[in-house]
């Protein structure tokens, strides 16, 4: 008997999880605002841009941002070497970055979760095979794989998504498997077994809902990772090819002009920093609210 009063909270794991996130803990307003704003920008980018991000205007090349000498509000963050408005390109770039992150997490997450559930529940050689494969993929540096693909198949949006998903699935699989192993021994699973429930039914009705916590945390934390890796790949020329404006590509384009027009490389990087920082903070908040035990993720 403990001296704590027990309070049965109603609702399944999802409701409980959401309650824990939004009601029981302090909501980080600014980062959450930035995350929401980034999603809105990604969706409505076409309406938010000041100029056509692809339009070339040699006459307006390399204009500085508004807060520097010679800048003006016409081009708040300046223009690049081809006279394209940097702010507009950053806005459109948001859509690219977030789409890649979303696609990657969806693909890698689904595959990883499925395989993790399988590995954890089945055990034995299935488990060993899946985990060894996962280790193999985790050991492989995605950057190099992307470079290989850039040469063999050619860089594109989907190449990047696949490369990232190939690493991401392994992370999901490992963590989900760990959760399943822990849950397998719990009473309610044993009870379901005793009652005659079949394997897949147990997995979907009993185990999966309780794995949701880990999934929610992982999803939010991997957005930042996906954005940074994609930007690095595009920077190296193995990611999304021009003329699509991407943050990584913009930094790369500005390299030659770092002395004269420093803003071309600086601004997109700041965008990355701001967005990833906010997503990571939100991810941390979700994780701490749901279960601080997950801090090893």
């Amino acid at each position: 008997m403990t001296s704590m009063t027990l309070q049965a909270k109603a609702g399944g794991p999802l409701r409980r999880g959401l309650r824990k996130i939004f009601i029981d803990s302090k909501v980080p307003l600014v980062p959450l605002g930035i995350v929401v704003a980034s999603l809105l920008v990604a969706v409505f980018a076409d309406f938010l841009v000041l100029y056509d991000p692809l339009a070339i205007d040699p006459g307006a090349a390399q204009l500085p941002p508004v807060f520097a000498d010679g800048g003006s509000w016409a081009y708040p963050l300046g223009t690049d070497r081809l006279g394209r408005d940097i702010l507009s390109r950053i806005i459109l770039g948001t859509r690219v970055s977030l789409s890649i992150a979303a696609a990657t997490i969806l693909l890698g997450g689904l595959v990883g979760t499925a395989l993790g559930l399988l590995a954890g529940y089945r055990g034995g050689w299935v488990d060993a095979l899946i985990m060894r494969t996962a280790d193999g993929f985790l050991a492989f540096p995605s950057i190099l794989l992307a470079l290989v693909l850039a040469v063999t198949v050619g860089p594109s949006f989907w190449v990047v998504v696949i490369v990232l998903a190939l690493v991401l699935w392994a992370r999901f699989a490992r963590l989900v498997r760990g959760d399943v192993l822990a849950l397998k021994g719990r009473d309610f699973v044993q009870l379901a077994r005793v009652a005659g429930a079949s394997g897949p039914r147990i997995v979907f009705r009993h185990i999966l809902p309780n794995v949701l916590n880990t999934l929610m945390v992982l999803c939010t934390l991997q957005v930042g990772w996906a954005i940074i890796v994609e930007a690095s790949l595009t920077f190296l020329g193995a990611g999304v090819p021009p003329p699509t404006p991407t943050w990584g590509g913009m930094v790369s384009e500005g390299l030659d002009y770092v002395e004269s027009a420093w803003w071309i490389s600086t601004m997109p990087g700041l965008a990355i920093l701001l967005i990833v920082f906010s997503y990571n903070l939100v991810g941390d908040w979700v994780r701490d609210a749901l279960d601080p035990q997950l801090r090893n993720i």
Partner: protein, 304 residues
Amino acid sequence: MTRLILSRLAQAILTLLMTSLIIFVLARSSGSPADLVLPSDSTPAERVAYIERMGLDKPVLQQYAIFLRDAVHGDFGVSIRTGAPATELVFSRIGRTLVLATAGLLVAVVISIPLGVMAAVHRGRGWDRFSMSFALLGQSTPAFWLSVMLILVFAVRLRWLPSSGTGSWQHFLLPSLVLGWSISAGVVRLLRSSMLEVLGAEFVKLARAKGLSERTVIWKHALRNALIPVVTFIGFMYGVIIASGVVIEVVFGWPGLGYLAYESTLWRDFPVLQLAVLVYTAIIVGINFFVDLAYGLIDPRVRS
């Protein structure tokens, strides 16, 4: 114990083989692997000769066997760009990459261990907030962009350091700092949570009850246990270290393996790229293997 080593070794070799298979398959999936390997000005006769020699008209598995046979003899093809054997190019660059990676790791360790320990010991207060903010910032900053910014400040504006190349410690400084910084974020967080867990352990309570000073309890008893997951993490992270290394080498013009890989991408110099990737994988697999062994040294429970 030897059985453990042997099994780990077998696993390592298996992983390496799998990687080579993946690259091999990818190369062939691009349509005409001959175009990848031969210079663009080769004659049709040379093309036919190559196809015959490599058995490109034979079943895939047989081709892979040929590839392995050549590999065992140290023949990984010839660079499209320079005509020199791929092995020559690649092996001349490994040293510099390893030097940079080690320096980065040292920087990371020197930064992260104190920060991680202080964050755990002063949980919820000043050091903790600082360390966590530092870690968060580190994880949110793209290494390539940070490199560009540092070059902008230190090389272009202040002219204190060179912006690229190799040759002196000044060339060495910025790349290793950036590499170290990008690794340390994850290490700080892991070490902090590991320390927190260890500090709550029974044996720590007992160590205090013995009358030991807090300093001894933290640095002798707690840290040694807390480092165990960190060591595996670092080994695990070597893939990330390598990946960051590639980008950093490119920005700083550090002529290592990563820069070579990048160049070969630009030049579509597939044989060199292929070997570079294989060597990278071998290094990662090798490091993981040694980390596994080191784990046994650090944690006596694993030895028996």
